[in-house]
């Protein structure tokens, strides 16, 4: 990002209209939620998008592999994703209602989210069953999560031996062997069990709760981890040093106070491992392996006086090719600076002695991501991406042969049954949730969930919300039409507009420079300082989102640019595996609507520092609107903390 870009960070929440309607005056409506309409952009939702916000949490339906899935996100993340990274203006319509009705609505989304998540989880578990059978068929050793952090041979670890002695002292001689025998007996029983026996009925409706079950392959792997844990203790296996991430930089040096804290953490962790080994649960092995690996990583940190954590990035993580990073090295420098700040923040939390495992997980995540990006740039290799909380789980092959089906015919028979279950479950999920542009999309399902939460009766829904919408009739399935319908029909007491990141930058530029000059310079991708082509953006020349009447003319230029890029993409096809051609064709497609005064494309940003201020800006009380006020008069500016460094 340019220096100019860094200096420009003001979020402008424009009050498009402050409605003081008859609805708003009523005191009985003591609560509210926001209906969010996200403007279109190329790529993931070129027709626009919608969400419902209940305070810090928002719910929206996304198309995931053809299924319409309800996602729950923090509102801050949703706004960061759409307004900042994807340059989309977000319009919020605040709907007033009674507190009790708000709870009913929120519960409706929660219920649907949980039930669908569990239904999807059943599908994932069925696929795990098939994968385990496939491994057996190939004769491959069972992979145990967490075991990959330890050496298979080599010198014994005194720390592991000491822990084993402590367990023997606590639970008696023969305790570990008994646990191992119990686990092996369970595995033998599981291997002889029909993998298709656990209850996984295909869902018949969205509100169906799947039966609580421990899926076959997952049970097998969990019990196998207990065998692996005992084997590891018996062998006093040492940590595999290649699975550690060590901060060799000066900032990775640990001070005396941190060392003292680490010793305390180590003692607490060892105590918890002793309790875990004696736990009645049969899946104790997996967390034990991870905990033991962390214990040994703390020993390394103490020995080296450096920050040391486990490598938590999975081998099969999605990868960004190096050629996508190379043109963005300046941006990556900024990301790394932010990453280092993130490490320091996590480190303070971690070394402050805060209880629980999460400070450790956060520190591991922060260090791993910075380390991966540094290594990727240094070694000019693909970057492994791993969003979200990543607990250590590096798998390793079991040290001892485990009971399994040996007979190929039996495996094939079981495999056929499991495959059939997968097909039936997938078909049921498709029937329930298949995405359809018109009949089942993010708008229609949002209203269905809203209405279901209020009893489905149009009269009752209208009484609660001020009106009834079904997301189907009168083009109600189109996101921007739905937003207009919400404003017209529901009890909307406030409307706010959160501008896209590019709009925020332009507004700030206009405060310091000639507006005409800014308009000219920022009108195109060649001279704009508010835009650097995003990794997944198509080729285009002019921005058309703020120039309605010029759209057809600029659209022709964009179309020509995209066609030329497509032709260049054909030439480059063998070298870039069609990436340039894809960008050119996409550019062609999204340029066409511009010829008819319709804008989709806004450009996107690879990286923008997130800020919780976006949410705060949406909730900040607006100044009282005067009768002749215009939206510009009522704008509120908010500095985004954490943006300017």
């Amino acid at each position: 990002m340019s220096r100019r870009g860094r200096a420009v960070f003001a979020a402008i929440v424009a009050q498009a209209a402050l409605c003081t309607s008859a609805f708003g005056a009523a005191d009985e409506f003591d609560a509210s939620f926001d209906y969010l309409y996200v403007e279109a952009n190329e790529g993931s939702s070129s027709g626009g998008h919608t969400a419902v916000r209940f305070g810090a949490q928002s719910y929206h339906f996304q198309n995931r592999d053809g299924l319409l899935v309800l996602d729950r996100e923090f509102t801050a993340d949703l706004l960061h994703d759409y307004a900042l990274l994807n340059n989309r203006t977000v319009r919020a319509s605040r709907v007033a209602l009674r507190e009790a009705d708000l709870r009913r609505l929120h519960d409706s989304f929660e219920r649907r989210y949980h039930r669908q998540s569990r239904q999807l989880e059943v599908g994932a578990a069925l696929r795990d069953d098939l994968e385990l059978l496939d491994r057996w068929r190939e004769g491959a050793a069972s992979e145990v999560p967490g075991l990959g952090y330890f050496e298979r041979d080599g010198t014994a670890s005194p720390a592991v031996r000491a822990l084993r002695d402590r367990l023997t002292e606590r639970y008696g001689i023969g305790f570990l062997t008994r646990r191992r025998d119990e686990a092996l007996a369970q595995l033998a029983e599981l291997a002889a069990t029909d993998p298709a026996a656990w209850p996984a009925p295909p869902p018949e409706h969205a509100s169906q709760e799947p039966p609580l079950a421990w899926p076959w392959a997952r049970r097998y792997q969990a019990v196998a981890s207990s065998v692996a844990a005992v084997d590891l203790l018996h062998a006093s296996a040492a940590l595999d040093a290649t699975t550690l991430v060590v901060r060799e930089t000066p900032s990775g040096w640990l001070v005396d106070e941190e060392l003292r804290r680490i010793r305390e953490m180590r003692a607490r962790l060892e105590d918890s491992l002793v309790r875990l080994a004696g736990s009645p649960r049969s899946d104790w092995g997996r967390p034990f392996l991870v905990g033991l690996a962390r214990l040994l990583a703390l020993d390394e940190a103490l020995a080296r006086r450096r920050l040391v954590v486990l490598d938590t990035l999975p081998a099969d993580a999605h990868q960004l090719p190096y050629r996508a990073l190379e043109p963005r090295l300046e941006r990556i420098g900024e990301i790394l600076l932010a990453g280092h700040a993130r490490i320091e923040m996590a480190r303070r939390d971690w070394s402050s002695g805060a209880p629980g495992e999460r400070p450790q997980t956060r520190l591991e995540g922060a260090i791993n991501r910075v380390h991966e990006l540094e290594a990727s740039v240094r070694e000019q290799r693909a970057l492994r991406l791993a969003p979200g909380n990543r607990v250590p789980a590096r798998p390793g092959p079991s040290r001892t042969p485990l009971p399994k089906l040996e007979d190929t015919h039996s495996i094939d028979t079981a495999r056929a049954r499991v495959a059939s279950r997968i097909d039936r479950h997938a078909a049921a999920m498709t029937a329930l949730y298949r995405y359809h542009l018109i009949t089942r999309n993010c708008v229609s399902e949002l209203f269905e969930t809203l209405n279901a939460g209020l009893g489905d009766s149009p009269e009752e829904v209208a009484e609660v919300l001020g009106g009834h919408l079904d997301g189907h009739s009168e083009f109600g399935f189109v996101p921007f039409v739905s937003a207009r319908a919400v404003d017209d029909r529901f009890r909307v007491v406030e409307q706010r507009v959160l501008p896209s990141f590019r709009e925020m930058q332009l507004a700030e530029m206009r405060r310091h420079e000639s507006p005409a000059w800014v308009a000219l310079r920022e009108s195109n991708t060649l001279t704009a300082r508010s835009y650097q082509r995003g990794y997944r953006d198509s080729a285009f020349l002019f921005f058309t989102d703020d120039r309605v009447w010029l759209r057809p003319v600029l659209g022709v230029a964009n179309l020509t640019t995209a066609v030329l890029e497509s032709l260049w993409g054909v030439v480059k096809l063998p070298a870039d595996r069609g990436e340039t051609l894809r960008a050119g064709l996409t550019g062609t497609l999204v340029s066409l609507p511009e010829l008819a005064f319709f804008n989709i494309r806004k450009g996107s940003n690879d990286w923008v520092m997130p800020s919780g201020s976006l949410v705060e800006a949406l909730d900040r009380p607006l100044p009282a609107a005067s009768a002749d006020a215009t939206p510009a008069d009522q704008s509120v500016e908010t500095e985004l903390p954490g943006w300017s460094r």
Binding site: P215, R219, L276, V478
Partner: protein, 148 residues
């Protein structure tokens, strides 16, 4: 006026159809450079300066575990199945050993209360779930008692 609006909307809808655009977001958030360092989740919510977001994260997790516990307590799943689901939930929250996590245990207690379990049944269940893990039993019972 309405006719004009309808015509405009029809045009927009037709454009959507003709150009094959997709209303609704496609979930592929793992493919962005932004995720190279951290997911938005961790940056803006999980560890931001805003304690309200962090507390919202705890609140959502508490609700998830409590809701899951209610589903178990009112259904016919076995204890191992319950533990298996807990592992999935807690790992998403960055916790591998939920038996040592106070928030998880308190949320289980809340769920049992919400499901209408009597104190005796709750205590017997907690014993079966956690064995001799005294701090864990205490946290679960405190969660149960936190709902009047």
């Amino acid at each position: 006026m309405e006719r004009k609006l309808a015509t405009a909307l029809s045009g927009a809808a037709l454009l959507l159809l003709v150009f094959g655009t997709s209303a609704c977001s496609i979930s592929n958030s793992s493919e962005t450079l932004s995720n190279s360092i951290s997911s938005p989740f961790e940056w803006s919510s999980d560890s931001s300066d805003s304690s309200s977001d962090s507390s919202a994260g705890d609140s959502a997790y508490r609700q998830d575990v409590s809701d899951y516990t209610v589903a178990f307590a009112t259904g016919d799943g076995d204890l191992d199945a319950f533990r298996s689901g807990l592992r999935l939930l807690s790992e998403r929250r960055g916790v591998t050993n939920w038996e040592e996590d106070g928030l998880t245990l308190a949320s289980i207690g809340q769920g049992l209360n919400e499901a209408g379990w009597k104190p005796d049944a709750m205590r017997a269940f907690a014993q079966e779930l956690l064995g001799a893990n005294a701090p864990g039993l205490e946290a679960l019972q405190a969660g149960y008692a936190s709902i009047p």
